[in-house]
Amino acid sequence: MSNLQSWIDNNTYHHSEFWDLKKLVEIKKKKNLKISLCLPTLNEEKTIGKEIIIFRSELMERYPLIDEIAVIDSGSTDNTLEVSKNFGADTYLATDILPDLGPKKGKGENLWKAIYQLKGDIIVYVDADISNIHPRFVYGLVAPLIYRDEVKYVKGFYDRPLALSGNVRPSGGGRVTEILVRPLFSLFFPELTAMIQPLSGEYAVRREVLDQIVFPIGYGVETSHLIDVYSKFGLEAFAQTDLDKRIHENKDTQDLGKMAFGILQTFIKRAKALDIIDKAEHTTILRQFQAKRDHYEQKLIEIIEDERPPMIEIEEYRKKFNR
């Protein structure tokens, strides 16, 4: 655990470190890598057109970093597919891929089927609801995989400076991350707390990892990826990139409840399978994040939930009340 901070220092990037796209494309070519971009969609007509235009222009026409852009749709009822096709993305209905396996509905289903449908050695997943889309959302995630062969899974995170007092600021994920996932990881997988935003929907992964792991089709997909890749390949397989601000529509608390419920199911299944439920009893350290300028470090907070027995077990009590 002592080297967790050094992992954070070595494997946490900022997208601006990868501004040199020309160099990135050269190394990609040299290593003979194919890269696919997958955009999972469900009624995303407002934002999808812009995402495709920007990725095609910047990362296919100008700098040939990605080899295909695929929209995998869960059955949109708006113009998502029409707009996507119009701007030259390959479009698929999730139900048309591996149709014999029967339909399942959820974002994880689309991500999983992308492994079958797309050709890349690396697949980058980017949510389709980002309104401030920028090429960094892709090259920031792909670059660590291109530069470092040992890295297999790169996760995006977004700095959300909530309060800026002095030069230390709290840093980390959204509400579900801070309330559910980080406490769970602190208890069961302390090393995974090094991921600043475990639930972000943007990540790039090598095929040889993707085809080895289980895909929950719903809310649990990101959590399960982290646990499974960690169990199989260790923390060294991960890297994470700061992608700056990400603007999307905020979810209300009830939706977050659904999300948390799905994550909890996925989590318990894995905790049981790995036989680590008991492990939680000895852990009292919650691991949160803070950022000092551009440097991220963990904040360890000891929270001891000590307990008292029922009063009836106390001799003095029994004497006093004659029980």
Binding site: E45, K46, T47, G49, K50, I52, I53, I54, R56, S57, E58, M60, E61, R62, N79, E82, V83, N86, F87, G88, S131, N132, H134, I247
Partner: protein, 389 residues
């Protein structure tokens, strides 16, 4: 003119070829449009444009002391034999930085504040080097690309004035790009005077008097008097009452009220005269009501321009005709007038069709852009070939 017609022949084909640059152009449009650039605060947008110039290999690009973004594509002729052609697009918008600048892209249109005015003009200009490189178009003359700042409203064309005052090149001709409307062909500038009239109720006003004074009422008096002014129908003259603001709530007497107006006329003399009359009105209302009424002249332009039969206008019309674009002739009060002042033959062109200008849901059509772009390239090549002098 024989050669010009053979040049024009290739234009419909060029329109088709340009479709392959759709993503590059629209990505530039979206990225430029999403960087807020209110007048006087255009630096982030200019920085982006400079990056694009640098990526396109325009090694001599720079931000000048006036804050303008300038790119140069060197012409193939020797220095003695070439002049420069200027393409300009104003970089500022009327929207404050606090406005949500998100652009929304659908199959056939793009919606967002400032998308037409002037993100598309800028995107067209910024994409030109990329297209020229890809299509192997090489001009004989130098091509200067100018993203001029401080253009609108109180900016009063400061950016382009600074640039023209300090540029050492000799300009053969200039084209100003505006996002809309396709077909727009402005070759002359009309006389213009833009001002703000502010009425203020004095601090010492007796507030116990019940509602019989208000800066809005005073301003109303001014407006009525301006409205009663007699304007000649020849030379054509008009007064635009452009904006009004004042007061704070339903139930408090308005302490101040402001009118923004513009006098436009084909004759400088009429503009001057109207300005004097408005000054008189302001003084008269002020003395009558006891309120403070001030007139501030924000900007002035002199009328001028190349004649309708000038070769540049002719060239433009023939290019547009070949592309089935119906020219809509309209005088302009924008960058064109700065160029006219310097005796540079200049035109203002629109790139596509659009609507709801100055609103947050400003919209442009995607399909006509290729024609608009072909028109710009066509006129540029004609000018470069010496057919427009």
């Amino acid at each position: 003119m024989k050669k010009l017609s053979s040049l024009n022949k290739s234009l419909p084909d060029l329109t088709k070829k340009l479709k392959k640059y759709r993503e590059v152009l629209l990505a530039n449009l979206v990225m430029i449009g999403e960087i807020p650039a209110p007048t006087f605060k255009e630096e982030h947008r200019i920085e982006f444009i400079l990056n694009r110039f640098a990526e396109a290999g325009l090694t001599e690009s720079m931000i000048d002391e006036g804050g303008n973004g300038v790119g140069l594509i060197s012409g193939s002729e020797s220095d003695d034999n070439k002049k420069a052609i200027l393409i300009s697009a104003h970089a500022d918008t009327i929207f404050p930085a606090s406005t949500d600048h998100t652009m929304q892209v659908s199959s056939d249109q793009i919606i967002g504040p400032g998308v037409a005015d002037n993100a598309l003009g800028l995107a067209t200009m910024v994409t030109l080097p990329y297209i020229f490189e890809d299509l192997g178009i090489k001009l004989k003359n130098d091509l200067v690309l100018l993203a001029n700042v401080k253009s609108l409203g109180k900016g009063n064309l400061e950016g382009i004035h600074f640039f023209l005052d300090n540029s050492t090149l000799e300009y053969q001709s200039a084209i100003c790009l505006e996002g809309i409307q396709l077909g727009r062909l402005s070759y002359s500038s009309i006389g213009m005077l833009r001002g703000e009239i502010t009425c203020t109720v004095p601090e010492s006003y007796d507030w116990s008097r019940f509602g019989d004074a208000s800066a809005i009422l005073t301003l109303n008096e001014v407006i009525n008097k301006i409205n009663d002014m007699r304007l000649p129908s020849r030379p054509r003259t008009s007064i635009v009452m452009g904006s009004i603001a004042g007061g704070t709530s339903f139930n408090t007497i308005a302490r101040d009220a402001t009118l923004g107006f513009e006098v436009r006329s084909e004759s400088q003399e009429v503009v001057e005269k109207a300005g004097e009359t408005i000054q008189d009105i302001v003084l008269e209302v002020s003395s009558k009501t006891g309120d403070q009424v001030d007139l501030e002249i924000v900007s002035k332009r002199a009328p001028g321009g190349v004649p309708f039969a000038h070769p540049l206008t002719k060239c433009a019309r023939s290019v547009m005709e070949k592309l089935d674009i119906e020219p809509r002739l309209a005088p302009s009060v924008s960058e064109l007038s700065a160029l006219i002042e310097k005796d540079i033959p200049a035109l203002t062109l629109g790139i596509t069709i659009g609507e709801r200008t100055f609103k947050r849901n400003e919209t442009i059509q995607i399909e006509p852009i290729y024609k608009g772009l072909a028109q710009v390239i066509g006129i540029l090549m004609a000018a470069d070939g010496g057919y427009c002098e």
